[in-house]
Subunit: 406 residues, 2 copies
């Protein structure tokens, strides 16, 4: 391709919903995804929710012919679920695990156990350095009362900071993934504003697929219809974003989403629709992404809005830290009282009454259990406070930098 004026890159992005033994028809769908990827021959494939390393290995074997290079990002208890398949050599990789990612005790949500992260792979095509990021942010379980908003904002901020700091030598930046945010949400505006990334859907010359580019649609047989009731058309939470950094321009020629059942089958790939972009990269004068300075005022507003939400999360975390600490102290006091009572009995006080051994033991174990649990929670919320506070600080520094710009 060397010497050609334009490079054409076909990118595939999908949240695979591949939870072994839990996701519906998981094995069949992973096979289907593999078959399609092999047939279609994209240049770059960014997958999320490939939770099982076995599934990744199976895909790697199947795709070895057309995507000889691949990387799986390991993190957390379950794994990040992130992987990349590429037609071009992967030169280097880096994983950044988000500092906040829900709560370990929210077992029914389970995000904490995945160690949500952003993975970076560096690829060189025809002498052009691509920094390709793949990520999956914390899910939104209840839009009206979204307890995870501060955590997701911290993740969006860390994602933006990570991209900014690691992409300085890149020619082109690509980000694909399930961001779990609607296009107008503050997190998306923050990410796009702070990095200068462009939305392939908004920029695409041609579009084909679900209305408004939605990737979670009621028509998909695997989606939870009740969750999508307020959004009859569906929602768009899976993105391909891009920008050129040095003397290149990137244009999105075409964006597609899948629309329900895959070719020749009765099931879709996943509960999410896949996003497929065809990008044109051309060497040219001014970088396309260098519009950051022009919208400083808008960006300052976005950072302020995000910082307010992080502040709300910070105060909630401080309250939880306080209550768990108080609970631990109360449990400790109860244990001390019990110890005093036991010592008193041993010393012969109140010997006229029988000592209630069973209830005493039950109470002691209960107090001990509460103490351990509350102390653990206190530690966890202390970490949460630290990270929210740190992010608030960083955002404040960003605001100051924005305001000081000429």
């Amino acid at each position: 391709m060397e010497g050609e004026p334009t490079l054409r890159l076909r990118v595939f992005d999908l949240n695979c919903w591949a939870i072994r033994y839990l996701s519906k028809r998981q094995q069949e769908r992973v096979r289907l995804i593999g078959d399609t990827l092999r047939r279609e021959g994209f240049d770059l494939v960014l997958l999320q929710e490939v939770w099982s390393e076995q599934d990744y290995s199976d895909l790697r074997v199947k795709l070895a012919g057309c995507y000889p290079f691949s990387h799986y990002f390991r993190s957390g208890v379950i794994g990040s679920g992130l992987c990349v398949f590429s037609r071009f050599p992967i030169l280097d990789t880096l994983l950044y695990q988000y500092s906040l990612n829900g709560y370990p005790y929210m077992l029914q949500h389970g995000d904490w156990f995945c160690g949500k992260s952003v993975g970076l792979v560096i690829i060189k095509i025809s002498g052009i350095i691509f920094n390709v990021y793949v990520t999956h942010l914390h899910a939104e379980y209840c839009r009206e009362k979204d307890a995870y908003l501060p955590h997701r904002l911290v993740q969006a901020w860390e994602l933006a900071q990570f991209i900014r700091h690691t992409s300085k030598a890149a020619d082109v930046v690509l980000l694909g993934g399930d961001l779990n945010m609607h296009p107008e949400d503050v997190g998306i505006r923050l990410l796009r504003g702070w990095t200068g990334l462009r939305d392939a859907f908004a920029e695409a010359t041609r579009f084909e697929g679900c209305k408004n580019g939605c990737t979670l649609v009621p028509e998909n047989c695997f989606t939870d219809k009740s969750e999508l009731l307020p959004f009859p058309l569906g929602i768009r939470i899976d993105y391909i974003l891009y920008k050129a950094i040095s003397s290149f321009t990137v244009k999105c020629e075409e964006l597609k989403t899948t629309t329900g059942p895959a070719l020749g089958t009765d099931i879709p790939f996943s509960d999410h629709e896949a996003v497929m972009a065809t990008l044109h990269i051309q060497r040219q004068g001014q970088p396309a992404g260098a519009t950051l300075g022009t919208a400083d005022l808008v960006l300052a507003d976005v950072v302020t809005e995000a910082r307010t939400e992080v502040g709300v999360g910070l105060r909630a975390a401080q309250r939880q830290r306080y209550s768990s600490g108080r609970m631990a102290v109360l449990a400790l006091l109860l244990l001390l009282l019990q110890a005093a009572a036991a010592l008193g009995t041993l010393a012969g006080l109140g010997a006229e009454q029988p000592f209630p051994k069973l209830s005493f033991c039950l109470l002691a174990f209960l107090a001990l259990g509460v103490l351990v649990l509350a102390a653990g929670l206190h530690l966890f919320h202390t970490m949460e406070v630290k990270m929210l506070h740190g992010t608030e600080d960083q955002m404040w520094m960003a605001l100051r930098a924005l305001q000081e710009r000429p």
Copy 2:
């Protein structure tokens, strides 16, 4: 300074050992450090083990005149302990928390609770972009049988990767901190080889201070003499490392360490000696740090050695994951047995014998406690396995890249 051919930068690095209520004469020493920093007027101050944010705030107030810019990195339960004071504006910051950092149940060591990290601050002086990194790696508690070596190697690797990926647009890279590794340890060789960083002590034109540049010396009244018995001269574990990336050269004109009691007092700053470097930065043809390619073979050996150690850690973690999992299963079986016994009693079986309520309850609580603990450990060691495995993979990829270089 604009237009001057040479920039002179004075850097101060110290592990402050400032644990409130635990470190000896902590308040007095923090005051002393503040006074000295104000008097000496360095350009850049990199501190570790400033555990209390109050101490940082006090220092910030005291140093506001001569170091108007500063940053404290928050992480973990206690905090990273890392902070930076600078005469020049801090343009941006980023924190990377190491994925492995000891064990939460090793309370006597406590490293896990600090959320050990590397902090990056970006500073621009006379148009030269400095990426300044400050870090503190996991301590070495027993050199003969160092259970934390794999974790420290993962940290050294992540530190090297973080520096490589974030410093591509920098002119000069500076790293200061307590690396808890001797100069010839594999972790230091890995870090230096993989980043191209140079050791200020080895490169310094003039040196003044403790013999061999040691920073943990038996003469210091706060050091644990028994730990230093095998090293009568002391050990060197605090470093200032640097390299030029673009068309600059960096030279270390002078390196100093403190030697015991600070000027006009009877106590040293800390149990570590401070490291002070005077660097000369000059715009010039070839970057000084670009010697990476020349030593590829040596570097491949170092990466192989480090990978072997990480592999040893991986197998240990897999064994621990297995034993904790087995323990959890046994505890669960015991609980199920007890439940069956209780149900049997309720159903009237064995009613001729009195039911031993107290021992039954004690045993149930014990089993429950073991189950919770073992399950927690199993989760923790699963994460450990994931991260060690991920690092092994990354190192393998690095080796392949080194071998494929022409």
